[in-house]
């Protein structure tokens, strides 16, 4: 059963930190760690606050890997439900956001592999990820170089997956580069190298145009 928007907001308000008399402290929100402890204690509504805080980052991780809105939302939903079911496995080594993003990333890669197999059976390989949704550019950008930005986006889609993933995750801005590397389970230097390599390739291709 779906809950209304108002009830979700009430959940958010309820999880403001309360002082000794039970009055909510409006100045400080509960930290992710405190919310996790509440979820572990059986407070399902505390997880609603975690979802509100991190659903964007989780969704964009799926978007970076899969390139389309519907698959990204499916993966985000699965990842958030899975993170609730596995909340006892969260050790606190990384932030809650990094942990959730890493779950979403693994699910997204698994789905991408399945999509790749399906696409290879039915479509030409170069059609992979061509369905990335184009966002309407801002007016000033449209005035200056809308066509050029589109061609850059096209070149980004044609990058090898590992380089494209690194570039897009860094561009999402939800996590620091070290956090992204942790979520991807690769060394931070490797992640930075991929971003640098992606930029070099793009510049080389765009310079030829």
């Amino acid at each position: 059963m779906l809950r209304s928007k108002a009830s979700i907001e009430r959940v958010t308000l309820r999880h403001l930190v309360r002082d000794a008399q039970g009055h909510p402290e409006q100045s400080r929100r509960m930290t992710d760690g405190e919310l996790v402890e509440r979820v572990r204690a059986g407070d399902t509504a505390a997880f609603g606050e975690l979802v509100e805080r991190h659903r964007g980052a989780v969704y964009r991780a799926g978007l970076a890997a899969l390139g389309n809105d519907a698959d990204a939302e499916d993966v985000a939903q699965e990842a958030l439900v899975l993170s609730f079911n596995r909340i006892d496995q969260f050790r606190g080594d990384a932030s809650v956001r990094t942990w959730m993003v890493s779950i979403a990333w693994r699910l997204a890669l698994s789905r991408r592999r399945r999509m790749w197999w399906k696409a290879n059976r039915t479509l030409a390989p170069e059609t992979e990820l061509h369905s990335l949704r184009d966002v309407t550019p801002s007016p000033e950008a449209r005035m200056q170089s809308a066509q050029f930005i589109k061609s850059v986006q096209q070149q980004i889609r044609l990058l090898p997956p590992k380089l494209r993933d690194a570039l897009l995750l860094a561009a999402a801005g939800d996590l620091t580069q070290d956090e992204i590397a942790a979520a991807l389970n690769i060394p931070a230097a490797t992640f930075r190298g991929r971003v640098r390599d992606a930029r070099l390739r793009l510049k080389a291709r765009l310079g030829q145009e």
């Binding site: 059963m1 779906l2 809950r3 209304s4 928007k5 979700i8 399902t44 997880f47 609603g48 979802v51 509100e52 659903r55 964007g56 969704y59 964009r60 978007l63 970076a64 809105d69 990204a72 939302e73 985000a76 939903q77 699965e78 958030l80 439900v81 609730f84 079911n85 990335l132 949704r133 966002v135 550019p137 950008a141 170089s145 050029f148 930005i149 589109k150 850059v152 986006q153 980004i156 570039l167 897009l168 860094a170 561009a171 999402a172 801005g173 930029r199 793009l202 510049k203 765009l206 310079g207």
Partner: protein, 175 residues
């Protein structure tokens, strides 16, 4: 021709726009609804059901195979050592009980074997038993074997005449 800084800015702008999307509000509601219901998605639940059912089936088949009734063992007759040089003694009356049909040659069944059907051992009734009467044998009588004497014939060996050897003298040269 664009310089490096402009290219970097263009890459940042393009990648940023590709990622500048927010999930629908319904995502949070759907997640919380699923969390409250404590349900897993249907396909995964189906997979678990199938996996559990196949495990149970495997277990049942394994137990059925392991507890299957053993095939009736054929008891071979005990060999008797015959006394050589003595007349055989008739054995005492011995009653051996043999289940009827136990010594029947087994047929190779072509029909598929029904596994899991365990038949309990059938208790023998007096009607199933029969008495085997001992076989009477005549004693073996040993008789002497007569060997006929062969006639001897004297043979003579003729003497051989051996001529004396003559030694020829060696040649003077070694050729």
């Amino acid at each position: 021709m664009m310089d490096e800084r402009e290219l970097d800015r263009a890459i940042d702008t393009a990648a940023g726009r590709m990622m500048a999307q927010e999930p629908r509000r319904a995502l949070g509601y759907t997640v919380m609804a699923r969390v409250r219901q404590g349900t897993t998605p249907a396909p995964r639940r189906f997979v678990w059901i199938v996996a559990t059912a196949s495990l149970v089936l495997c277990g049942v088949i394994t137990i059925a195979v392991m507890t299957r009734a053993p095939s009736p063992a054929l008891s071979l007759p005990v060999s008797r050592q015959l006394a050589v040089g003595h007349p055989p003694v008739a054995p005492a009356l011995e009653v051996s009980v043999v289940a009827e049909g136990a010594m029947q040659p087994r047929r190779v069944a072509r029909a598929p074997i029904q596994r899991g059907v365990v038949r309990p051992p059938v208790p023998l009734t007096p009607a199933d038993m029969s008495v085997i009467e001992p076989i009477e044998t005549e004693p073996i009588v040993l008789s002497e074997i007569g060997v006929p004497q062969l006639a001897r014939e004297a043979t003579s060996i003729e003497t051989l005449n051996i001529e004396p050897l003559t030694i020829e003298p060696l040649a003077a040269s070694n050729d």
